[in-house]
Amino acid sequence: VSGTPENGCTARLRAWIRQEIPDKIEWIGVKQFLYPVALIAAITCVSIYSTNEALAQMDVATLNFSKSITPILTAIVSYLVLRKAEPLLAYPLFIIMMVGVSFALRKPDAASSTTDVITTIGLAIVFTSALTRAIANVLSEHLIKRKDSGSFNPLVLSFYSNPVEVAVLAPLVILRELPEWDARYQVAQNGYSLTTLVVMIIIDTIAVFGLRGVTLFTIRETSSLSITVFAQLKFAASMLIESLFFGYDIDILRICGALLVIGSTLAYGYLKTQPSTNSASVHSVKAS
């Protein structure tokens, strides 16, 4: 059986690849898998793009406050799609959370800066962003937690979403941002080199890759609603970091806001650990 191959190293490498890496990527060839992934990725793109557009209409604090409606929208979409009912007490907690976010994000000179005008279009864009984010999260949860054979591994879902995101965003970037593209000039204006920019973008992409994976794994381990609720903690954490490391002013109202956000999030977490009767009743109603 023994023999000498015509080219040792190449044959050895080829055999190793063939034998040990047989299934490089299991490409999705079935439409029933491709459609939901493409839909989720497209909805996520709409959410990202509308958030970016909303930033042109209002300041960051107003945008984040408006987006704190996302848990309520996620609860509604989750009920409609997954038939998962939240305890009634959760809704007042979401309202308290919104109030807390508005206090925590309040600018120290809010009394003097009354020039920010919230337009109807701006609010509509933010609402679109929040709603699409809620739909994307709930659909991801549906796809990841499916009981039948069509469930997705979170990393696989993230992987297949990327080409769709690129395909959706490419025309927008070409039409909206590429005409203004002059990174070398813009970066030099701020005293940074192009190398610094590239290194920062590479770090950013690695962090985003990690975040995307962690997001989907967290949705699998918890739920789409839990992740949107805990996302509000980010504002409280941001406020603390700003005051500790960046020397931003901090007043009593912002501290109260942060405490409200933390308190309502923890209360929601406690509520979720209790045995639920609502979800059981929904399933029983559905079954009947």
């Binding site: 000498t4 050895r12 890496i21 990527i25 993230s158 690129v166 593209w181 813009q186 701020n190 973008i201």
Partner: protein, 116 residues
């Protein structure tokens, strides 16, 4: 006793699920907050004010990072097999140092000394 044991196991399982969920959520919040600050620096201080382009770059790079992850994972798997002497080399080196083909056994070699 069996009932007590079942209850205790259920409580332990519930606790472990809670701890795992909390760990995932904490990691997610920390990563998300850190990334928000990093993006703020990138947009406001560095002056890279192209959010959609950045998202496009994220999509492209995440695709390639995932590919790298697949192959690194597979490579680690092969290395682990070699380390535990369970890897069956399709073209092992002969005693004389020349490459030679050998039939691949149907069952993996479990004894580490069989390669010696």
């Amino acid at each position: 006793l069996e009932e007590q044991s079942t209850k205790r196991n259920a409580a332990l399982q519930h606790d472990s699920v809670m701890i795992a969920s909390l760990a995932w959520l904490t990691t997610w919040v920390a990563l998300n907050t850190g990334l928000s600050f990093f993006n703020r620096v990138l947009f406001q201080q560095v002056g890279f004010n192209f959010p959609s382009l950045l998202t496009l770059i994220h999509g492209l790079t995440s695709f390639f990072y995932y590919l790298i992850l697949i192959y690194v994972r597979r490579f680690c798997y092969v290395l682990r097999q070699i380390w535990s002497h369970e890897f069956v080399d399709p073209i092992p080196l002969s005693v004389s140092g020349k490459l030679s083909y050998m039939p691949i056994p149907s069952t993996p070699m479990t004894s580490p000394r069989s390669h010696m």
